[in-house]
Symmetry: C2
Subunit: 336 residues, 2 copies
DNA sequence: TTGTAAGCGTTATCAC
DNA sequence: GTGATAACGCTTACAA
């Protein structure tokens, strides 16, 4: 049975109030008292019960990080940075994965029975903007969106400029002399979401270069997985004319795509150049190493935590739209 | 302000006791009452406050998963399975990373001020056995060890047979005709830990094949990262005689090692065969695809959660030692 | 500066 | 079967 505040007070011959003051670092407590209390705490090996504290204060000191899949490298690398950033602000992180399940996302936003266990949600969503707006009850739970573009300023969010990032990647392929540039990751069904923005950037870059968007060149990829990339690229390799470059909406797709190109008896970058987005470590060690658009994940994580903490402290602060920097990283997979 | 049990009781004209009974699905509630309460809950959009419930029951419904680094693929794939398995048992998972910091591990096991936020710990440790034994106060917090061998039965743990797994990997290299077999991942400083067991398996397999353990062939790798693998393999490639095979203690090391072999102007598997342990998805898409010892992560996750839940329900249950199955998966990186 | 006591929202122990 | 009521361990007015 762990010791309670009361036990400490009894042993130290002081009131619980004084013990509480000492524990929470309250200023006005005499040195004599403080020492006596500290000694009692030490002797009883007392630790404050965070649950009781939470019930009283309404703060749990926990953030929820909600991602589609934690084992997708981009998300696990993001999670790592979020956990570190949260620690700096005195928060811990609970991770939930929605598994590409819109219903699970919905329940989380509506506030299921355990929502109150954390002070705020960092949410990397699948759902479209309009759905989000309708679903979330911002009154009840601070929310920061990750990697999602939002226009009406109702939510905090931190994301890269997805249109520009896609544009940079495709323009790089153009500059490398590629003319038949395909894309993997376009999601025709979603609105206002990352895939749509990246598709827009892809098309804008093509147009800018005076290249046509050929039929069948923009392919979908439901889960942004290696397997999705593999299958999409396999289909692309069978096209006539065959693409001489593939822009993948994520590095994971690109890893799968590269493997598909090899299995089709072709080579990267000679026959087909490949570029991704995310800059996961896997791409740096791949063969050939993967050109990509690097996102500043530590920055994204830090900003997201900073925003959520600000909103927890004052729910009425205006929503902020943080644009994280990105930059093109050229490696072997797009060498001319 | 969210509605409370009291609000519901007032609106439904019943006692809080009755409302609580309805909410927690208590049997003896008349249908009339139940309907009235349900209507009031619906109207007020009531959700039970999990913190208050926790204070009363002592259960938070949360498990902590502690790993060195969440963005190491093996751990993120494990985390995914743990989260899923925990959900089946009605638990959620908080993830903490120790960042290879023994001090952070120690604090966690000693029970820092927020330990009471979860009902049990699933711990994938760095520290040695003896340290663990001294540090953890099992009376206070149910604990299940992952991936660590333990002999004295004081802790639940689930792990593969590390000696045998390493033996299988090395024997496979021997069967493929390799005679100069190096290893990456040996950690001379740790006792009773995974690296030591895998080193033992490596040496046993060599001896069995009548091969000598050459000086400099067993190299350390502090973090089991791609970079560690790269550096170790680079050093190995400069050795005379040069190894014709490398057994890596993790797939991530193997990925780095393969890249180092290429950068040394050699090829896998022709000049150097490479085999890892873990069977992360990255290895299946690598070029060449990586031979490995596949661990049944869903099994490990499920067993670990099953054990921790059993221990939460009854702290006095005897510790169990679960051995998870493993199997050799031969791919391109060790083709003869 | 320190003590007393009233909650925070549940669950559980009593009675009825 | 249902209603009061006392905890759970803490923070914080309010007193002293």
């Amino acid at each position: 049975m762990p010791a309670t505040l009361r036990d400490v007070a009894e042993l130290a011959q002081v009131s619980v109030r004084t013990v509480s003051n000492v524990v929470s670092g309250y200023a006005h407590v005499s040195e004599r008292m403080r020492q006596r209390v500290l000694a009692a705490i030490e002797e009883l090996d007392y630790r404050a019960n965070p649950v009781a504290r939470t019930l009283r204060t309404g703060r749990t000191g926990m953030l929820a990080l909600v991602v589609p899949e934690i084992d997708v490298p981009y998300f696990s690398e993001l999670a790592r940075d979020v956990i570190d950033a949260a620690a700096e602000f005195g928060y811990r992180v609970m991770i939930d994965q929605t598994g590409h399940d819109h219903e699970r996302e919905r329940r989380l936003l509506m506030g299921d029975d355990r929502t109150m266990l954390f002070d705020g949600i960092l949410f990397s969503p699948l759902v479209t903007k309009s759905e989000l707006l309708d679903m979330h009850r911002s009154e009840h739970m601070p929310l920061v969106l990750l990697g999602e573009h939002e226009f009406d300023g109702r939510f905090d969010h931190v994301a890269i400029d997805n249109v520009q990032a896609a544009r940079d990647a495709v323009s790089h392929l153009v500059a490398a002399g590629r003319t038949r540039i395909a894309a993997i990751g376009a999601q025709p069904l979603e609105e206002y979401s990352t895939p749509l923005l990246r598709t827009a950037g892809y098309e804008a870059a093509l147009e800018e270069a005076g290249l046509q968007a050929r039929p069948g060149y923009a392919t979908p990829a439901p889960h942004y997985s290696r397997t999705d990339g593999y299958e999409a690229a396999t289909a692309l390799m069978a096209l006539d004319p065959r693409p001489d470059a593939i822009f993948c909406f994520s590095d994971l797709l690109a890893v799968g795509a590269m493997r598909a190109v090899f299995d089709a008896g072709l080579s990267v970058p000679e026959d087909v150049a490949v570029v991704g987005i995310d800059d996961i470590e896997e791409g740096r060690f791949a063969r050939p190493s993967l050109s990509t658009v690097s996102l500043d994940t530590p920055f994204i994580a830090r900003e997201a935590v900073r925003r959520i903490v600000a909103r927890i402290d004052d729910p009425s602060v205006a929503a902020e739209e943080v644009v994280a920097p990105h930059r093109l990283v050229v490696r072997e997979s797009t060498a001319s």
